[in-house]
């Protein structure tokens, strides 16, 4: 067979960034081709937001940061819960995106990637970048919906929130990758989801602010919220989305601290993911 294309091995060399991009593109195509996944990851948080907003709106009161918030009444629960809902959408999407590593392994796709002439970080990068972009798109859909729901957002706030969402999504997708890499069933992941990831979200300031009580439980919860890296991701989202400083909790970490911790969280999780995936183990065989 005559060939017009010279593809002898002297002319082609593996390109890790090209490989990462193609794997990322695959994630996006797969995700958006399966409509129920698009819908599933975004519908539940929105329902939470609407229902909790309605149900808890009457009893929610943010501790006054200054004397005049007490006068204006502070944010409604729906306003307070808005960045938290966004974090939940990022969490769900990032997590579902990384569960696919378990399917990739089971369906044999992963094996063929592992014998390609690539450093493993290229595979990790493709997966995590793909999951991050999916989460970002979902987050943006939610922001657009919110514009129709009487939440005021400036263009600058949306632009800044894209950057923060990217960082938070990157950290969560990397975390999901680390958790999913060694699992061989999606059932196992659901267990991780309910005992680790949902509590992590609940204790991130997404749903309620840090309790100030002196009781053992209150202080324990406050401590967990302080060490939870997601707390800072949610805080960063809250800082860029909420223009009115009076509507922020008094003890909310500053934007600089929030961004710093979130970047560190993302970097450390990505490094762990690369390190874990870099080893050849019997788990690679099908």
């Amino acid at each position: 067979m005559a060939t017009a294309y010279d593809t002898t091995n002297s002319t082609i060399a593996p390109r890790p960034m090209l490989a990462a991009w193609t794997l990322c593109e695959r994630e996006l195509v797969r995700f958006f081709r399966q409509r129920q996944r698009v819908f599933g990851a975004i519908a539940q948080p929105i329902i939470f937001w609407v229902l909790f907003g309605a149900g808890l709106g009457g009893t929610f009161r943010l501790d006054a940061t200054t004397s005049d918030t007490a006068a204006t009444g502070g944010p409604t629960f729906r306003e307070y819960f808005f960045p938290g809902t966004l974090a939940l959408i990022l969490l769900f999407t990032a997590i579902f995106a990384t569960i696919s590593i378990i399917e990739d392994r089971r369906e044999g796709f992963l094996q063929s990637v592992l014998v390609a002439p690539l450093p493993r970080w290229a595979m990790v990068l493709g997966k995590i970048l793909g999951g991050t972009l999916i989460a970002l798109v979902q987050g943006l859909i939610f922001l657009v919906l919110a514009l129709t729901l009487q939440i005021e957002l400036t263009a600058a706030a949306i632009a800044a929130s894209v950057g923060v969402m990217f960082l938070v999504a990157w950290a969560l997708t990397s975390l999901g990758f680390v958790l999913a890499w060694r699992l061989d069933s999606t059932q196992g992941f659901h267990a991780v989801m309910s005992v680790l990831l949902m509590p992590m979200w609940l204790l991130s300031g997404a749903f309620f602010p840090t309790p100030t009580g002196e009781g053992v439980v209150e202080r324990g919860v406050a401590l967990l919220m302080t060490v939870n890296p997601l707390t800072y991701g949610v805080a960063a989202l809250r800082r860029v989305l909420v223009a009115d400083a009076a509507a922020l909790p008094a003890d909310l970490p500053s934007l600089a601290v929030s961004l710093g911790v979130t970047i560190l969280f993302a970097a450390v999780m990505f490094a762990i993911a690369c390190r874990m995936a870099g080893r050849r183990t019997t788990g690679d065989y099908l």
Binding site: M1, T3, A4, Y5, D6, T7, T8, N9, I12, A13, P14, R15, L18, A19, W21, T22, L23, E25, R26, V29, R30, R33, Q34, E107, G108, F109, Q111, S112, V113, L114, V115, A116, P117, L118, R280, T282, D284, Y285, L286
Partner: protein, 310 residues
């Protein structure tokens, strides 16, 4: 080379080499070590002990170089079922550094080569098993590897699809000069290869062309069905000084001029032979000869002549 999974020794010092341009089959019963050998050669599993080189590259230190020059198709499907055939091939090409026009051209080429051009736009999950296997082959060939490693390429395929796989393999070997090394647990399939290695319990028990291996079996293979195989076997050995084996309740022996032995044996032991048959040696006989047991029940030995007498 040797390989362990925990305490279990899966490969126990297997020396072999594959020549350029040949179709080489690794054959053996399940658990014989061929998948382990495959994992080592494909660089999926790290080499534990011993030495090996693939295409002149050291398996221990030059895995990355090896990966560029081999095309691998695992036993399990590796296609993304939610993507189309063309999308699968495009991603695969990029993993190997192909892009742009070169990638598009090469994708068209392998689609044509494996006869799946008309299904290029279909989702993989809509393809039949045989077509999927062809796309797997196309995927493995995309970056023009010098060595094609295939793990059980025709497992779970119907005979027609299996014949297709072999036809395409023969073609790509001829046209692209690629060396093919494959594993199989089917002896009649191994028969089509240029050379074969038989692996059993982690050991190399035979390595040669199928014809040479069959020639090592002493002539024809004779199988006698009887009620008391071990006594009959002992009696035959005593009377004719022949080596015999007892296998699955039958007596088995190898002799040149098998047809003459039929009459001789039946006359010598009247009433004790319920059926007797003689056949040209097959790879099954080679396996029995080397391992002292049957290869597997999914293999019926090819029978040339058969004589029955009550």
């Amino acid at each position: 080379m040797s390989h362990r999974y925990g305490d279990r020794l899966a490969l126990d010092g297997v020396p072999l080499s594959v020549a350029e341009g040949e179709i080489f089959a690794l054959v053996g019963p399940n658990g014989g070590g061929k998948s382990t050998l495959f994992r080592l050669l494909s660089t999926l599993a790290p080499l534990q002990s011993g030495n090996a080189s693939v295409l002149g590259f050291d398996l221990r230190g030059e895995a990355m170089a090896i990966r560029r020059h081999i095309g691998v198709a695992f036993q399990a499907a590796s296609l993304d079922r939610k993507l189309t055939v063309r999308e699968n091939l495009r991603h695969q090409g990029r993993l190997y550094g192909l892009s742009g026009r070169m990638l598009a051209g090469r994708v068209d080429e392998v689609l044509a080569r494996l006869g799946v051009v008309d299904r290029a736009g279909d989702l993989v999950e809509t393809l039949s098993g045989g077509l999927k296997r062809r796309v797997e082959l196309a995927k493995a060939l995309l970056h023009r590897p010098r060595l094609l490693l295939l793990d059980e390429p025709s497992t779970a395929l119907d005979p027609a699809a299996r014949a297709d796989v072999w036809r395409y393999l023969t073609e790509v070997r001829r046209d692209e000069g690629v060396t093919v090394a494959l594993t199989t647990h089917l002896l009649d399939e191994a028969d089509k290869a240029d050379r074969i290695a038989i692996l059993d319990r982690g050991r190399l028990v035979a390595l040669d062309t199928p014809d040479s291996l069959k020639a090592t079996v002493g002539g024809d293979s004779i199988t006698i069905e009887t009620t008391d195989a071990s006594r009959l076997a002992a009696d035959i050995t005593e009377r004719f000084s022949l080596p015999t084996q007892v296998l699955d309740g039958n007596v088995r022996l190898e002799q040149a001029d098998g047809h003459q032995w039929i009459a001789r044996l039946v006359e010598a032991f009247p009433g004790r032979v319920s059926a007797i048959r003689v056949g040209k040696p097959t790879l099954e006989d080679v396996f029995i000869d080397r391992c002292g047991r049957r290869f597997g029940d999914d293999e019926a030995p090819a029978v040339q002549t058969e004589a029955r007498r009550k």
